[in-house]
Symmetry: C2
Subunit: 188 residues, 2 copies
């Protein structure tokens, strides 16, 4: 079963276990079931990676294309968005979430209206750039237990800004559709 | 590697080879490379199905949620859309397509404007319902060679209507972003 991904899709496998580049500092179940507490996280390229990994858990995702962002928003977001892997950003968060069947039954215009029109997901995240680097992985159509895996990287001095960002998002209407969320904090 | 799909995702593996429920009548490369000509097609449930299948080719897809359809359109489409598997619809078409990098680099509002605003993909497909049954499978994020696999079913007396439908879609601006397309016709 060969999978050939175009480079912009950034397929990734997150293996939680005894080894890996990232040290896991905390694992917190925000909504629904947690994931087993493990010591370290390894991030592998590809979604078939990790098949034989001795991990306590394995999560897969693919970055994909933009789902809700409009052109004018993209043109503001893109130049402000830093790359992953900055040497001065040794803190990370992996936040897997699942949205409810009710969310997925909405049409595109209804989801956009909640996501940005009322929850201002894009506009109110902008002020946190470029302090917080972010990559959104889609997982729903891979048959995964979560719909999205979001990976964040930031410097220790921006840890409070990161708390503010996730706190803001969790307080908005969009988050009422989240029926499972785990918050994993890491450092290297 | 266990994949657990929610039922509405309809994960499917299309195995082209010597066996299967569907007889392949024709295989035509519309744009780009064809697929090897085989005798029959088997459609299996799941995306890990077919790993050990002796097929000449294997294509996978997941139905997923609506990407461009708005609520008012959904409410017209849904009651007019017939199920797959109708006893009086023994003709089928499997049309795998890939869209260009230029398409995927567009933002959501730009893709919607081309898809429906200018190409009228939804509005001009409506008159073909309920004669043509259809299911769209997404494949891009599965690491597949195509982005979409569309499966159609219809009665022999609606074969010309089906030609009109695909001819209409291929003539529109949206289709200028299709850089690979294979048209497979089947019967049972």
């Amino acid at each position: 079963m060969t999978r050939i991904y175009r480079p912009e899709l950034h397929p990734a496998t997150f293996v939680g276990g005894a080894t890996g580049t990232w040290k896991i500092d905390t694992v917190r179940a925000v909504t629904g079931d947690a994931l087993p507490r493990v010591e370290r996280l390894e991030v592998r390229v590809g979604t078939d990676a990790g098949v034989d990994a001795a991990g306590a858990w394995i999560l897969r995702g693919v970055a994909g294309h933009e789902r809700y962002v409009e052109r004018a928003e993209h043109d503001r977001l893109k130049p402000a968005s830093p790359p992953l892997g900055r040497a001065d950003a040794p803190r990370a968060a992996l936040i897997p979430i699942r949205k409810s069947p009710g969310w997925w039954a909405l049409s595109q215009d209804e989801r956009r209206r909640i996501f940005e029109g009322r929850s201002r997901h894009i506009a109110d995240s902008m002020p946190y750039l470029p302090r917080i680097a972010r990559r959104l992985y889609h997982a729903r159509e891979l048959g995964e237990p979560f719909d999205f895996l979001t990976w964040f990287e930031f410097a220790p001095e921006h840890a409070q800004a990161f708390e503010d960002l996730v706190g803001m998002l969790r307080g908005r209407e969009e988050w009422s559709f989240v029926d499972r969320e785990v918050d994993i904090r890491l450092s290297r």
